[in-house]
Amino acid sequence: MSFKTFRGGVHPGHYKNATEKMPVVPARLPAVAIIPMAQHIGAPCEPLVAVGDEVKTGQKVGDSQAFVTAPVHSSVSGKVVKIAPCNHPLGRLVNAVYIKSDGEDTWHEDVRPHPDWEQASPDELRKIVRNAGIVGMGGATFPTHVKLSPPPGAKIDYCLVNGAECEPYLTSDHRAMLERPAEIITGLRIIMKAVNAPKGYIGVEDNKPDAVEAMKRAAAGLADVEVHALHTKYPQGAEKQLIKVFTGREVPSGGLPSAVGCVVHNVGTCIAIADAVCSGKPLIERIVTITGSGINEPKNMLVRVGTPMEEVIEQCGGFKPDVRKVILGGPMMGLAQPTVENFPVIKGTSGILCLTSLEVELQAFSPCIRCARCVDVCPVSIMPLFIGSAVEQGLYDRAESANAMDCIECGCCTYVCPSKRPLVQWIRLSKGDIADRRAKK
């Protein structure tokens, strides 16, 4: 069965060969784990522990009363040494609990499996997922239990699992599919039960034939789960694009996937859900791809949340001397960081990409030549050139009327622009401004 494709998109180089054949290796336990209180979109958590408290692995150390939030757990056993701000990928300081590890890794007694989950009600499943602090692990870190609570009246027809991993360089999802396909299927079935969806699809880009094969083998014999190889094109793994590919439905402007009867989850999230339900483990570790030509030994590592970035980099042989830019996530949508000090790996850290000066050299941009290549590649059919020039002149209201808020920030426009114009950066700038103004109204 061949699927329709989505409009636009680009074909950047894959750069995955450095790590795609490397099995996931567990990283060392951190000496001091830094657990930020905000590792998700939504209300930040309040610390539940005080300096001097003894905590165990998997113990909840932060929670909030809000709906859109996710609790955080200790990833080591040891003693709380301080509560202080640490760096966050979004460029601000967030409160964090610093836990000095005792090296024992004793698990907390609340961590216990739910073996009879097949009999559990959707509400119970949502509660397990919320208490495990699970967030979307593709990088957006949206609390998963919120996604599992479709608005009243919405009927979910399809559960989609994103194994596309369309970002160049990253291989964490690829390795997850090869090494833990059974858990991905279990996670998908739990999601399907929680949202009462009859059908589940898993989509994997066809540049990973081994992953397609592994997932197909794991799904064999299941009538309600299908695995499909997708055309290799960026941004294949974007939520709205994946829905379009599988169902032909289009998420309306400003709407959520549930509006067209779909939910989309990442393969990493599925594994986290399976772990939370089947073995009771909260989300305290994730697979991180440490790669790029600026690192000595590229690796896929299973890293405890809260491990300082510097320790992870040191376990990969350290930086090469001419490293110039460190990006969290992939090169298309990841966030460049000003520092790696006092900076923990969090739930959404899919990759640490280290690039050398040769690769990140920027050219000065020049005026728009109206070639409309950005319009051709835009997967959400907006016209980045107009938004770009509006923002360049400071006309944010014009950017808003050119539908800047529909941008998914995939970066295809900037990737193809022959004038090297920073289109997606301009659009992101205007989105912040527009959101501020809407909030004021």
Binding site: G91, A336, Q337, P338, T339, V360, G394, P422, Q425, L429
Partner: protein, 259 residues
């Protein structure tokens, strides 16, 4: 030839007559006071009054819907002129406001934590890890205020801080509104000295990252002869109503933050 001249000339006369008639018949009555008011206004169309331009403000003020002193670039002189024209009482003259940069962390005095090579806009630079400078409160230095100034009163110094020419400043406040770090303040032109720092960090933290930042040592507050200075959240604040411009604080400040 004759026919052409006569016919074209006739047409010209006919249309001229029609236009003259239309000009009389459909003439728009303009309140002469609106035109007068407009002639008093500076004509920069800066929009600070809240109207699209000087003409719209003139109409509104004559119609009675706008305050007389909404034109800050014009200052008390304009409001006095308008008040005289409309036969109203002029609002009390206020001291002229000028834009003042309250940060001295340039590329020599303040430490950077990274290199930013994205496009030159302060807000965009802040999206990258909260700005390049180590200080969380200081000027970002990408010059959004320079581009926002309608009268080119702001230029970028070679050390990466905006320089504001107080003589040219029309106190429109656009730079203040565009600054994402709020390090431009509108201050009274009569006040000579200001605490040029916004950092709420503790003294040691400030000293580590900036050689001109306020370290909250309290010397200025202690030495001020009229007790116009107080310390709030690790930052000295000068009360403009008490300050007598004696300059003692400038002399005692160890970081040369007050200038």
């Amino acid at each position: 030839m004759i026919i052409a001249i006569v016919s074209l000339g006739g047409l010209g006369l006919l249309f001229g007559g029609l236009l003259a008639f239309a000009a009389r018949k459909f003439a728009v009555e303009v309140d002469p006071r609106v035109e007068m008011t407009q002639s008093y206004l500076p004509g920069a169309n800066c929009g600070v009054c809240g109207y699209a331009g000087c003409a719209q403000y003139a109409e509104a003020v004559v119609a009675g819907g706008a305050p007389l002193n909404a034109c800050t670039p014009g200052g008390s002189e304009v409001s006095k002129n308008i008040a005289g024209l409309l036969g109203m009482e002029a609002p009390a003259a206020e001291a002229r406001l000028v834009a003042q940069l309250v940060c001295l962390g340039d590329c020599e005095t303040a430490k950077d934590k990274a290199v930013y090579d994205g496009f030159r806009e302060c807000k965009a630079a802040l999206m990258f890890g909260g700005g390049v400078k180590a200080c969380r409160f200081g000027c970002v230095g990408e010059g959004s205020c320079v581009r926002s100034c309608p009268v080119e009163a702001i230029t970028m110094s070679k050390n990466g801080l905006p320089l504001i020419n107080h003589k040219l400043c029309i106190s429109c406040g656009k730079c203040k509104n565009v600054c994402p770090r709020q390090v431009i303040e509108m201050v009274s032109a009569n006040m000579l000295y200001h605490v040029r720092c916004k950092s709420l960090d503790k003294g040691k933290q400030v000293r580590d990252i900036c050689s001109r930042g306020c370290i909250a040592c309290n010397l200025c507050a202690k030495e001020c002869p009229v007790k116009a200075i107080r310390l709030e959240n690790n930052l000295a604040i000068i009360d403009g109503l008490i300050c007598n411009n004696c300059g003692t604080c400038v002399e005692v400040c160890p970081q040369k933050t007050i200038a």
